[in-house]
Amino acid sequence: MSFIRDTLMVFRRQERLALRNPAWVIIGLMQPILYLALFGPLLTRLPAATLGNTGNAYKFFVPGLLIQLGLFGSTFVGFAIISDWRAGVIERFRVTPVSRLAIMAGRVLRDVVTLVVQAAVLVLAGVAFGLRAPVAAVFIGFGFIALVAIGLASVSYATGLLVKSEDTFAPLVNTVVLPLLLLSGIFLPMTLGPGWLQGIARISPFRYIIDAMREAYQGQYFNTIMVEGIAVAVGVAVVFLWLGSRVFLRENA
């Protein structure tokens, strides 16, 4: 099918460009690794009950860092589409017979691959610090990361293409991402918070995804938390992918 062929072609181009400048992939990983190394050890001193009796602070912390990696890694990709647009590359592609949706899909695929690789490095680093989790759970975690990346990268590209200015895009992304991140209970469980905060935290979709990932890391694969997490992750991916593709398929983007 020509859409798949076109997507793979755009993917290869973007992958080649990313590997030409691998610094960004490494910089993207630096932040969670620093958290792992410099913040993680604090959690190991907390009473076990605080972290929901996980028995291993890293089983609690690594899923949070994975989501943090996914959130930052995929919401900022819109910057790249702005510079591509400015270089005239988007327009050049749109005048060829290539699928206009593939212009986005190939990029999203590249981002998913990049993030899963980064996630794997992060999990390995976690193991070095003392993470012990079932292998199946680790792969479930990658699945969640991939779904989050599909949704957020799509919406980030679409937003970038709509605003066409880094000066608008940067504050916009920060304003949206930071509260979502804080409300997701990445560093500490949201259950520690007062009632009102726990209430607000219900609006962050990533909250459900993190909870589900933590369940998986505990070896709990079949319960409502897991179902909720999967439903939210798939929902995020589908809805945002759809929104993003609408922007790329418009006649006048």
């Binding site: 080649r16 460009l17 591509d84 270089a87 005239g88 590359v89 050049r92 749109r94 017979p97 983007a253």
Partner: protein
């Protein structure tokens, strides 16, 4: 039927406050193998028209057939058959990624047109030769000179051997040497490959040198079209300036009686005559003066430039609106910005 046939092509941009009619009904006919220039001041509707013809923008009204495909009914068919080289200056650049290698850009572009790998290699190799890019295959685009990068961008527009290629301001921002070099390449597109070229330009000498025919657009409508010579002739005749010693009044009277002279002014020994086809009128005029024993000091024949044509038609000089970056960013390119706010 021509390779481009447009009827009543129009585009209105609506912003929250008002509607701007960027293009208000453009009719165009371009024949196979023509090199056609599209001239107009900034904001006249050049870029909007070009974006409509290349499927980047949907017309508000009007119809067009481009390279044998219906613009509205079969935009994909249009895209398969045209080449497009975006303008390389202003809000967006010419379409190459600074971090790609030259050869990668050519092969990727071939991929976008679904060429087979062996065809892609072949086309890339050929274009590298044709556009003087030999030896630059493994260079990053960002290390190329302005002229080299522009030639690469033109090569990208030709990868799939389109019968029709759109060049948006092909030489803007280049030094004079690269510009005349590029003119040669553009001329060869037609002479060697039979490609029809539709280009927009700020440079009147570019239109003069390259184009068989010129369209002048202003305020969203085409105000004139014809060969550069036709346009010049239609607008104003040639100006002959003669200096004589003394006797200027007598000379003036003699010349005013000549049928070829449309207008004449006499002042201080200088006679300024407006004539049609100056090169043919001149010998006769000189014979008349010689017969009357009037001595000439100097002769000058000046022909109208496309700039005069432009000035007469639009009330603006293209040169006021120099193609430098500064003017493009301030006054210029309201069109794509408006387009993207949709």
């Amino acid at each position: 039927m021509g390779i481009i046939e447009a009827r009543g092509l129009a585009r209105t941009f609506k912003s929250r406050k008002r509607a701007v009619e960027a293009v208000r009904g453009v009719d165009l006919s371009v024949g196979d193998g023509e090199i056609v220039g599209f001239l107009g001041p900034n904001g006249a509707g050049k870029t909007t028209t070009l974006r409509m013809l290349t499927t980047l923008l949907t017309p508000t009204s009007g119809t067009a057939t481009v390279a044998g495909a219906d613009l509205l009914g079969d935009p994909l068919g249009v895209r398969k058959r045209i080449g497009y080289v975006p303008q390389a200056i202003g809000q967006t650049m010419g379409g190459t990624d600074p971090n790609c290698l030259v050869i990668e850009e050519l092969l990727d572009q071939a991929g976008l047109y679904h060429l087979r790998t062996d065809q892609a290699r072949q086309r890339a190799e050929l274009l590298i030769g044709q556009l003087d890019l030999s030896g630059l295959e493994r260079r990053l685009v960002k290390t190329l000179s302005g002229g080299q990068r522009r030639r690469l961008e033109i090569a990208l527009g030709l990868v799939h051997q389109p019968p029709l290629v759109f060049l948006d301001e092909p030489t803007t921002g280049l030094d004079p040497q690269s510009r005349s070099n590029l003119w040669e390449h553009i001329g060869r597109l037609r002479s060697d490959l039979g490609t029809t070229v539709f280009l927009t330009t700020h440079y009147l000498e570019e239109a003069d040198v390259l184009c068989d025919r010129v369209f002048i657009i202003d305020h969203g409508v085409i105000v004139a079209d014809g060969t550069p010579d036709e346009l010049k002739r239609r607008i104003s005749g040639d100006v002959v300036t003669l200096r004589v010693t003394g006797e200027d009044a007598a000379a003036g009277k003699l010349l005013a009686d000549q049928a070829v002279v449309r207008e004449i002014t006499v002042a201080d020994g200088t006679l300024k005559l407006t004539v049609e086809r100056g090169e043919q009128a001149l010998p006769a005029l000189l014979r008349v003066l010689d017969g009357a024993g009037i001595t000439l000091e100097s002769i000058n024949l000046s022909r109208p430039t496309l700039d005069d044509v432009f000035l007469t038609l639009t009330g603006r000089s293209l040169r006021d609106d120099s193609p430098g970056q500064a003017s493009r960013e301030s006054a210029g390119e309201l069109e794509p910005a408006a387009a993207t706010k949709e």
